[in-house]
Symmetry: C2
Subunit: 227 residues, 2 copies
């Protein structure tokens, strides 16, 4: 089992976040490492998705994880228990990660050892959408129990993401969640987003997510990453 | 059906939020109106709880609702459809309400017509916990699908609340949510919090919430509000 390293991060108010983010993106593209920023409400299944991703990745993909949390290390411990190197960023009350905080995580990971680094952002549909972390791809999870009206209420998050994972589809039978209505609302905001339905509990649909991810990782390995 | 009034709110960066909040609290206590701040993650059931509360309140309790949303009026419309006066505060990207924003809502409601005003805060477990809205009572919802580990990850929210409603208990059969573990984690942070298990879908447990609320409203009517 890997140890969890804990970093207390501070926001650099004066730094130009967009500039730092662009630097992070370039640095990791040069190192052929895909940086992926995973966002959702609290409890939508970010950590569960990462654990399913660890299981599903093939071809010797070297994965590192940067976990952000306000005040715990429970997620990083779960990831490290699977033998994955995990850095825990403790935001000390901050509601989002910025590119400077992510840089601290990447430096601690020593990024050139990895093909893929997944950032698990703070559980929040609002603030993380407003701060570029430097990731090449933004991925969000919406879980079925949260309801199909969330694109109406948190439009920016749906607008900035490359992939939407609709998680906990095993709850659909107990819910009035309308997948067609959701798709329509999301695609109105963001016609280019890829929508994948999954259940991290049963594993249903996870292969579609892994297929998308594997393709993106491969593109970065070959220096053909799309962003 | 009542009309929904929409107010675009702005944060007063320079104002002393705590001072404004204390003023709101005093003003409404003097008017014998209980102000309640309802918080949760996106999709935990804040609006559903308000609709159940509208049904359950007895004794001619005059209820007004202040809805906060980043970019929609869907919640206020649902409340207004029940004949309840609802103000929609559109925060324009802000991730929380502060006392100045709430004051704008109260002014629009004309607070002296109400025994109870419920604020539905922005769906977010982080930032709303950090800003005093001027409410007399803070109430949060945690829904079963979010998981029992949330007190470890968002401790401030659990610490500042008077009541925790554990919603969507109809999902318990599909979930590994551990109610006993949750209670222990929450009570460690906040020994005085009242925990009520409910399902806004089936109505289970809602009577316990209504009983607590009715008692608090009555105390404020008699000028004996506890805060």
């Amino acid at each position: 089992m890997e140890d969890v390293r804990l970093i207390e991060v501070k926001e650099e108010i004066m730094a130009d976040n967009n500039q730092v983010a662009a630097g992070v993106r370039k640095r990791l593209r040069d190192e052929k490492t895909l940086l992926l920023n995973l966002m959702s409400s609290p409890g939508s299944g970010k950590t569960s998705l990462i654990l399913r991703t660890v299981e599903g990745l093939k071809g010797g993909v070297r994965l590192g994880v940067i976990e952000a949390d306000i005040d715990s290390t429970v997620d990083a411990q779960k990831v490290a228990a699977r033998g994955i190197t995990a850095i825990q960023l403790r935001t000390g009350g901050f509601c989002h990660l910025d590119a400077t905080m992510v840089t601290q995580g990447i430096d601690a990971l020593a990024a050139n050892d990895f093909d893929l680094i997944i950032i698990e952002n703070v559980g929040n549909l609002v603030c993380p959408a407003e701060f570029d972390t430097g990731a090449h791809k933004n991925v969000m999870i919406l879980s079925v129990p949260e309801g199909d009206d969330k694109p109406l209420k948190y439009p920016l998050m749906f607008t900035i993401c490359d992939v939407l994972l609709v998680n906990k589809i095993d709850y659909l039978s107990l819910s009035d969640f309308d997948l067609a209505a959701l798709r329509k609302r999301v695609l109105t905001l963001n016609p280019h987003i890829k929508i994948i339905e999954v259940s991290c509990k049963t594993g249903e649909g996870v292969e579609d997510w892994i297929a998308w991810l594997q393709k993106e990782v491969e593109a970065f390995r070959l220096g053909q990453g799309s962003k």
